[in-house]
Structures are given as structure tokens and as C-alpha cells.
Amino acid sequence: MEKNCESIANDTKFNWKEVTNEFIAATGELKLGELLHDEMFGLFEAMSAIEMMDPKMDAGMLCNRSKKVLNFDQALACGKLKVNNLTIEEQIGIIDDTCGCLITWLEGHSLAQTVFTNLYLHNPNAVEDKCIRAFSVVVLKLVAIVKDFVTKANVVEEEDIQPLYGFVMPCDYSDNKACAMIRDVEEEVQRKLKAIQKDSTKQNCSENDSEKYFQQENEQQLLLALYVRLKFFRLFFQSLILLKKEIFNKVQYKKLVVSANVEDIEKHLQQSSETFQFWQQTLSMGVQPDTNSDPDAHGDYPTIMGFEPLVNQRLLPPTFPRRVLMRTRKEAVNYIECLVSRLRHVCKVYDCSTFHSALDFFTDFSKSSSPSSCVLSRSILQLLYLPAPGLVFGVQPLSELLRETVRQFIKPPSLQTKSQIFANNSQAKEYIEVFFNHCARPMTSLLQISGHNRARQREKLAQALEELATLQDEAEKLDSFLNNISQKLDTPLSHMGYFSTWILYHILRVMIQYLLSGFELELYSTHEYPYIFWYLYEFLYGWMVSTLNRASNLIQEQESQNDQKGRGSKKSKAKKRKQKPHFRETLLNQAFQQLCGGYYKTVCAFKLQGKLKLPKAALNTDQIRHEHRFAAFNSVIAPPPVSYNQYKDMTEQMSLANRQNPNELYATACKCFQQAKILFENIPEPNEEICSCMKIAKTNYVVIKLLLSGHIGELKTYPEFDFSVDKVFPIIRIL
């Protein structure tokens, strides 16, 4: 290291001059507290300025310790790094620790402080060991592919993934070459395994040499452990290459919305997932860090041969040293296992034929995947569905799919294939075309929002409302334009509220999602529960149910008109037996409405009894907080924003009607929870979320019933809201 400094000093001639004394003397002219302060030196500069040489702030100070930090060449020169004759234990250890680094990188830490603390990745060509060389090349390729996916999908923020800090990746192999390299090594290991197996069957005849037998048994296990790791990386790499092809070189297959590669991707991922069990079992086989001789080996970083935690310290921007707690080998393999199952799930997006089913798929994936912030899987989902802007699966224009989706949602007369009246009106045709083109962007935003991390989604939902509000205006104008035409027909028919109902449906979805996300992100204090649940119960879910009913009624109206026209045809009779349109979704929203009603009445009763923690020394009012909490809703016209006074009047009325008696409120809360439970039970094919909600409604019903019957007596402490079963809807606990 000293040598380096000298050589740098020799190369560029600095002319250092000691100015300390002059500087100190000059400061004497300043008065106490007087500060030389540049206008441009703002908060950002102040916060990122460091006091040089202070180990708490100066990231470079980490390097100035007794132990020298060696790069690849230096470590190789002084014999600290082996590039050949690695033992299998070393190979396994290097692979497993690299996995820990990869996962830590995916969780938002810099590449320089994670993956590239592995020295082999700095110069794989100089590695003679075929196994580590192939593995290193594949890891470098994987990092590049992941980076491409994440960059293209662009559903990340600074906290999700970090830039490369000018790190040049030393890898110039093609995908195929890299794949062939790791396959060669994998096959070689397999051959060795077979040879041992043959040998050991021969030996069974002469079992006297037990020591040799034990040795062979041991080597066989090690080779097998190495084999599954190589196999996993080969298969995982192959699936990502196929995904890359699927996304970046999408070819138009005669408008067929079928993926050419998805079966292969699924097959590779499935095979790769078969390796995890044995991988987990053999985690202890890799070399372990030597904690006795190496004082740095305290478990935060991999410190086995081949790893140097501080090798890139000088590449980091001059800010505070960010602590990187590297994932352990066990955590890494667990994470990778979940990642593979997430990717397998993501490939099912090809089953989504309508926009609404895709949107549900996206939001469910974001909600239920854990950890929800996996940048790789959520980026791939975005890219598989919309590999090019506005082109679903790279083949179907989104505007076309939206048209089809609206046709199913509400059957507007203007979109009926039989409707010649509209088809022949070129102006109507054009307006409809333009409308769906305008829809494409906001609807894409809705998909993209679900790709962001959960904390960011909330603010983005508020922005989406603004875009949807513009669309709502356009939808209403379009409806009345088409209505003008349809009223003049021989048999006049209405075209009011078709497109606008569809947009209203999306606005309500976003509003509900926005309010609910506040529970998940732990943003609400219990004293805010009354107005949040009130808004959900009295308005949003109610509006949602009536919106779905309107869509359903309009469809049925259309169908009955068609039936009248084609009376007597067999087709129409078959239709009658069908369930009401939007049956399931309506039921679900009714259930959530009752659930929220139960909470609303319960928290109002708690408040009446003084058992809701209120801000005792508030510097503002409930009204001010309420108005700002719902400020995001001011951008939409329908549904109209509801004022604080309405809330106040309705809540007070309810309390008065119950003669300030909490028991009456508890009784109605009970009814709501019971109603919710029954509704949830009636939903066909309930998923995990619905089952949890059923349980929550039931438990809350029992708790409030007990409270009502006086079995619990006076409430002694503040009741608790337990979000362990569901992140949004709590179980009420009375202690």
C-alpha cells in the first residue's frame, strides 16, 4: 500500500505547503460565532460533508488499519489467494458466500461492498481453477442481466438498488459460452461422482479398508454438494437468459399471445428448485472463516479465502460508511428458494387474458410476495407483461385490450360488434379510439405502481388519482357524445354512464388501496381510526358496490334487449342460468364494507368510553388532520370529497341516537362483523386473504359480543389492534 502511495505521489507532482499556522492566525480575525458560509452550501452539502479522518464519518478510514487490504493481484502475489488446486470445501464456501453477497446486493446495498468483495470476480480469466472460473463468469453475467432487467423495468427508487459507482465488469464471454463453461464443470463433477460410485461398489467385496471407505464416502458427499450448486447456477442462469430473450428480443408470432420460451423457463426454474433441499443440508460443508487468526472475521462479511470486504472501499462516494450486514449462507439459500418460486409465479402472468385480471395479478403479487421488495421478480413481472410500452406481451396494443376489457366490464352499446350504428359513424369511432389511446398511459401507471416497494406505492397512488381524474372527464364527455347519437336512433337507447362508470371503478379501487395502505405502513394512530373506517364504510366500499351493481345492471339490460330481439333462440336461454355479472367482486366489497362498519362502530364506542388514545396536547385539531389525511382525494370530482363536517354530523348523530350508550354501538358493530363473516363465507373459491378476513370478522364478532354481554366488565386499559393475521384488518384485543 505504501508503495502505491509513493508511486502515485511520484506520478503526479503535488506541491504541498504547510499552511496551518497562517490558517489559525487568520481565524483570529473572526468574531465568536462568525462563520465563512457559502450561499451554495445548503442542507444537502452540510449533511453529506464529513469531518476528514473521523472514523465514524470518513469511509476511507476503514482502510487505515493494521491489516493491509489486498486486491486480486496483491493477494495472489503474497500467496493469500489460490487460483488453482482449490479444495472442494473452498469451492463450496466461495459459492455459498457469494450467494450471501448477491442477495445483500439485491436488498439495496452497493455492488462494490457486496458481490465485488469476492476477489475472483475481479479477474476470472486469471483463475486457473475451472470450477471457480466458470462460477465467477456466470455470477458476473447474472449481475449484468439483473441490472438490465431492473434498469429497463424502472420500478425502483434509490433505496431499492444502488448504482455501480463506475465499476467496470471484467467479463467478455457470451451467454452461450458462459453457459457451456459451467455445464462442463458440472459434467466433470458428475463424472467424478460416477467414478467413485463404481469404485465403491467394487470395494464392497473387500470391506476391510474402512478408512478408505470413509474417505470416499466423504468425498462423494462433497462432490454431490458442489454438483447441486453448479447445477442450480446453470439452470438459474439459463432461465434468466430465456427471460432476457423473451423480454428484449420479443418476436411477433403472428399475433399469438403465447410465449415461445415460457415452458422452457418454467422447466428450468422447476429443476433448479429441486436442488434446494440438498443445498440446505450441505451448508456446513464449505470452509468457514478462521475467527482466531483474523480479527475481522466477526460474521458481518465473508472473510474466507477469496473475499476482501474492504477491497472497493476507495470506490465508494465520500459519505458516511454505510454498514453492510451481509446475509448468511442459510439466509441466502432461503432467499434464493423464495426468489425461484416468485419467478415461477410471475410466469403465470401469461394466463391473464383481460386487463383487470392482469391488474389483480400485479397487485396480489405485490401484496403477498415476501419479501415484497424483491427488485428482480417484480421487475421481471413488469417486463414480461409489457416488454415494450403499450404492447401487452409485446404483441397486443394495450388500448385494444382495454377496449376488450371494457366490453366485458359493462358492455357499452358502442362497443358491441353488432352495433352498426356506431361502426358507421366515423366520428364516434375516432373518439372511442382516442379515448382508449388516452387510457393506455394511466392504466400502465397502475401496473407500474404495483411494481414499486410498498412504501412508495402510497404516494404514487395519490398521483394516479390525478391522471384518472382527467380521464374521468374525458369519459363523461364521450358518453354524452355517444348518447346524443344513440338517442336519435329509431329505437332510442341511452349511452350514459358506460365509460365513466368504468373509470369510476378504477378511481374507487385506487382510493381504497390508498387508505388501506396506511394500515399496512403503520401510518394511522388509533385516534384516527374513526374517520378512516368511516370513510371506507360509509363511502368508498358503498360507492364501489353501487358502481359494480350499475355495471352489472347495464350488462343485463343489454342482454335482455338482445334476448327480445332474438326471442326464441336457444342461446339466450343458456345465458339466463349464468351468475350475475361481477357477482364475486360485489360480494367481496360488501364483505369489506361490513367489516369496516364493524370497526367504525367499535372505535366510536371506545372513544365514547374514553378508551381511544387521543392527542392530549394537540397543537392542531381533528378537523385539520382529517382534511389533510384525505387531501389526495380532492383531485377527483366523482366521488366527491366528503367534508369533515359530514363526518362530525353523522358520527354525533349516531352517538346521540344511541343516547351516548356504547352498548348500542357495540350491538351494531356485532351485527356488522357477523354480516361480514357470512358474506366472506359465501365467496366462491376463497383465497388465503379472504380466509384470514373471515377469521378476523369472526374473532372480532366474539370479542365485541363478550364486551356487550358484560363478561369482560369495564374496559380497564386501551384495547389493542393486532395486525398479525392481516396487515390491513386488525383483530381487536381487550386486555
Binding site: 460565532g33 442542507l43 427508487e157 412504501a455 388532520r625
Partner: protein
């Protein structure tokens, strides 16, 4: 909110705190004590530039708590003095050219003086000063795990406006707390 309302913000009761005095920041001489007090409780290091950025630009939004103590070291000699046992550091400026936003950058109370509403009183003082400066809102960040801080601010009417994913150097999420004044 106007000045009439400000007078309504009364400080919380200060039972048995006769020796505790709230003062405005006066001079650079107090800086080392302020830094020492605040550094003790923070998970992140702040450079002297950060302190100076706030305190030199908004000295009127920096308040300190002094404890005047007298200690008997012998039968006749008594040692008297004062020490800073609490501090709040803030700023107030236009945010996105729209709202006048107050920001509480740092708040600390010596651990031997806690549970006496000293922190709340410092916040109330600072907010009174911000209201005089026509603030629309006051914000701050705190670790999601810092329950005492959440309790203090929520009791004053702050709400959790935003969650900031992996905000701190140690990877912990933060909450942006906000008090709307208008």
C-alpha cells in the same frame, strides 16, 4: 393558525422542575455542549457542518434547557453552575415554493431528566416560534422503532405522513411525522 392561537399552546406542567430554565440559543460557546448532548442519542453521526447549517441559519429556532445546580462539596463550599440538559434544533423555509415548512432536525434530553415533559416543552417552544414565522406545517423523521418519540409527537397532534423504506444507515425504516397547522 394565528398568534391568538399560539398563546393557547401552554407548556405542560413542570412539577418540581424549578431549577430548569428554557433559553434561546445564544452563542457558539454553547455548541460543544449541544453537540455532546445530541450525539449521545443519535444512531447517525452528524458533522459539525450539519449543526452549524441549522443553528447559524435559524438561531431563533434553537432552544436549550439549562439546569442550575448547586452541589455541596464540603461543609462550607458549594459549587454552583449550569449545564445544558436538553436541546432542539430546527429550520423553517419554503418547501416546493408552496408551503412554509418547519423542520425539527434534532431533539435531545439528557437521560437523567427524562419523563418530565422537557422534550414536549422544547417542541412546543420551537413550534410557537415557527407559527410566529407563519409556518403551514412542521415535519420531522424518526425511526419506526422509536416508540417514545412517536408518543411525544403524536400527543402533540403530529401524524405519520409517510413511511421511508430503509431510510437510515442501519437499514431501519423511518416515519415522516407531520403536524398540519392550517
Amino acid at each position: 393558525m394565528n398568534d391568538d392561537n399560539v398563546s393557547e399552546f401552554s407548556e405542560l406542567s413542570l412539577n418540581g422542575n424549578e431549577d430548569i430554565v428554557y433559553v434561546n440559543y445564544e452563542s457558539e460557546k454553547q455548541m460543544p455542549d449541544i453537540m455532546r448532548l445530541i450525539q449521545k442519542d443519535l444512531s447517525e453521526p452528524y458533522s459539525v457542518y450539519t449543526y452549524r447549517y441549522f443553528i447559524h441559519n435559524w438561531p431563533h429556532l434553537c432552544f436549550l434547557v439549562n439546569d442550575h445546580f448547586s452541589q455541596f462539596s464540603g461543609p462550607t463550599t458549594a459549587m454552583c453552575g449550569e449545564k445544558i440538559i436538553g436541546a432542539i434544533v430546527c429550520k423553517l423555509d419554503l418547501h416546493k415554493k408552496m408551503v412554509k415548512r418547519g423542520y425539527i432536525a434534532m431533539l435531545a434530553v439528557d437521560e437523567n431528566y427524562r419523563k418530565r415533559k422537557i422534550g414536549s416543552n422544547l417542541v412546543i417552544r420551537a413550534i410557537k416560534a415557527m407559527v410566529r414565522g407563519d409556518a403551514d406545517e412542521v415535519v420531522l423523521e424518526t425511526e419506526i422503532t422509536n416508540k417514545p418519540a412517536l408518543q411525544l409527537y403524536e400527543n402533540l397532534g403530529f401524524v405519520r405522513d409517510k413511511r421511508l423504506f430503509r431510510y437510515y444507515l442501519n437499514g431501519v425504516d423511518a416515519l415522516r411525522l407531520k403536524l398540519w397547522l392550517k
